[in-house]
Amino acid sequence: MLDGLKDIIRKSSIHVCLVNTGGCNGCDIEIVALLSPRYDLEQYGIYVHNNPREADVIIVTGAMAEQWVDKLQRVYAKTPEPKIVVAVGNCPLTGDVFNQEGGNVHAPVSDFIPVDAEVSGCPPRPSEILEALLTVAPGAIAARGRQKL
């Protein structure tokens, strides 16, 4: 019964931390568009906090610049369990246009932290990000929480 109650609470209140690991900022702007009245992220119980210590979901954008190699793992370690990682945009998946020869990016992000969901696109539409978040986040967080107990 306690598990069921925790599940309900975890599913209805998801806190998101947005981490840009050196991209063009386009994906971040699409995520900001999710906060606008048209998409209205908070009606689904998702809140953007930008504090890894309060987050359930880490949204990673950007192509892993040199400086982020150790810092992203620190951000991930500071997030309390249960947590999931969503990679938004092409940069965390393949490095996209930054992964040119002679470039200094360390994509993909999945080399450094485990990634649960991927949203491709450069940038993806806000509706695609919303779809991925709502499909993966509540169920995965609840499942992770049960595993831990």
């Binding site: 048209r38 998409y39 209205d40 009606q43 092409n90 998946l93 393949t94 490095g95 996209d96 246009v97 992964n99 040119q100 020869e101 002679g102 991927e118 491709s120 696109g121 450069c122 539409r125 806000p126 509706s127 779809e131």
Partner: protein, 342 residues
């Protein structure tokens, strides 16, 4: 006071209370508008394996040319494959695709054909909107008066009024913001461009042994006398101004990819044969052989080879027409930083 009453009136309405109780986004936010340019669509059967899409693509992981397995009767067809995890939906591949109908379609913009001018001149002037600083000096010097116009904060040349006098080009403070494009003798221009590229490639291939010795981070410099080249170009079209313009433009932008083949290191494993998108590498009695005429310089073989038999270099060029008659093309070569995937 009146506004407070208005608010009270608004809150008292039933529809407001209903909306307030069930505030949800409409489902149409999930629809993509018709103007949205989505991932390119590939029509395999039209592809001629020219590799233009891979060259135009700004994202390195987005397009790969692949080849189907050969059957007993015919060679497998070659076609581009779009990787959605790398594609940025810019539509450049569809724009450059030369086949008709197009192998790659992406959105609608690339289907628009540019209008051509019917003026009896051989040079057309256009303004590059990226470089234009909107100083409007060209508008003041325009001999016609109103051939250069401002529209939506952009400076444009009205091709119907322009008489191609070239005065605007002289006053423009930014190099390259106004371009004079030769619109006559298109076929001859293509011939000269091919001649320049072929000559430069042959020049580099003549120094193949030196090129193979280039280490990582080193730059190999080469100077080429271009008098022969200009002489040959004059035979195609006797117009020195045009030839100089072409050579300068070509060498500015050209990035030649050079592939070298070290027979001693090759173990005839045949890994590259399967990967080559254009049938350029074949397995024969004499081992693995590469046909330079078919090669697209796509670098897939270089990334595949586990023995380092294939070298891959990038060449860049600079052309300086000097006044004392010595036309030298400076060539620089360096190794590519592409990772080897094996």
């Amino acid at each position: 006071m009146s506004s407070v009453i208005w608010y009270l009136y608004e809150f008292a309405r039933k529809s407001w209370a209903e909306n307030f109780a069930a505030a949800k986004s409409n489902s149409e936010i999930m629809d993509k508008p018709s103007r949205f340019r989505d991932y390119p669509i590939v029509h395999k059967e039209y592809c001629i394996a020219c590799g233009a899409c891979t060259a135009a693509c700004p994202a390195p992981m987005a397009i790969k040319l692949v080849r189907d397995v050969d059957s007993a009767h015919e060679q497998g067809i070659t076609y581009p494959v779009i990787n959605n995890r790398g594609c940025i939906r810019c539509g450049f591949c569809a724009e450059v695709c030369p086949t008709d109908p197009k192998t790659l379609t992406c959105g609608e913009n690339h289907l628009i054909r540019e209008k051509f001018t019917i003026l009896p001149v051989d040079k057309k002037y256009v303004i590059d909107d990226y470089l234009c600083i909107r100083c409007k000096k060209c508008m003041k010097t325009c001999q016609v008066g109103d051939a250069i116009v401002e529209e939506n904060n952009k400076i444009l040349i009205d091709q119907k009024k322009c008489i191609s006098c070239g005065e605007c080009l002289k006053t423009c403070p930014v190099k390259g913001a106004i371009k004079g494009i030769h619109i006559a003798n298109i076929d001859e221009q293509k011939e000269i461009i091919n001649l320049v590229v072929d000559t430069l490639e042959a020049e580099i291939e003549a120094h193949e042994e030196d090129v193979k010795k280039i280490g990582g981070g080193e730059v190999f410099k080469l100077d080429m006398d271009s008098d022969d080249l200009i002489e040959k170009a004059r035979a195609i079209l006797p117009n020195d101004e045009l030839i100089n313009d072409i050579i300068e433009n070509i060498t500015d932008r050209l990035k030649l990819r050079i592939i070298t083949w070290d027979k001693n290191k090759c173990t005839d494993c045949g890994l590259c044969v399967k990967e080559c998108p254009s049938h350029a590498i074949r397995f024969t009695e004499n081992g693995v052989i590469r046909d330079p005429d078919k090669c697209l310089k796509c670098s897939i073989c270089y990334q595949t080879c586990p023995f380092g038999a294939i070298g891959y270099y990038i060449a860049r060029f600079l052309f300086k027409p000097s006044e004392d008659g010595a036309n030298i093309i400076h060539i620089t070569l360096k190794t590519s930083d592409l990772p080897v995937r094996s």
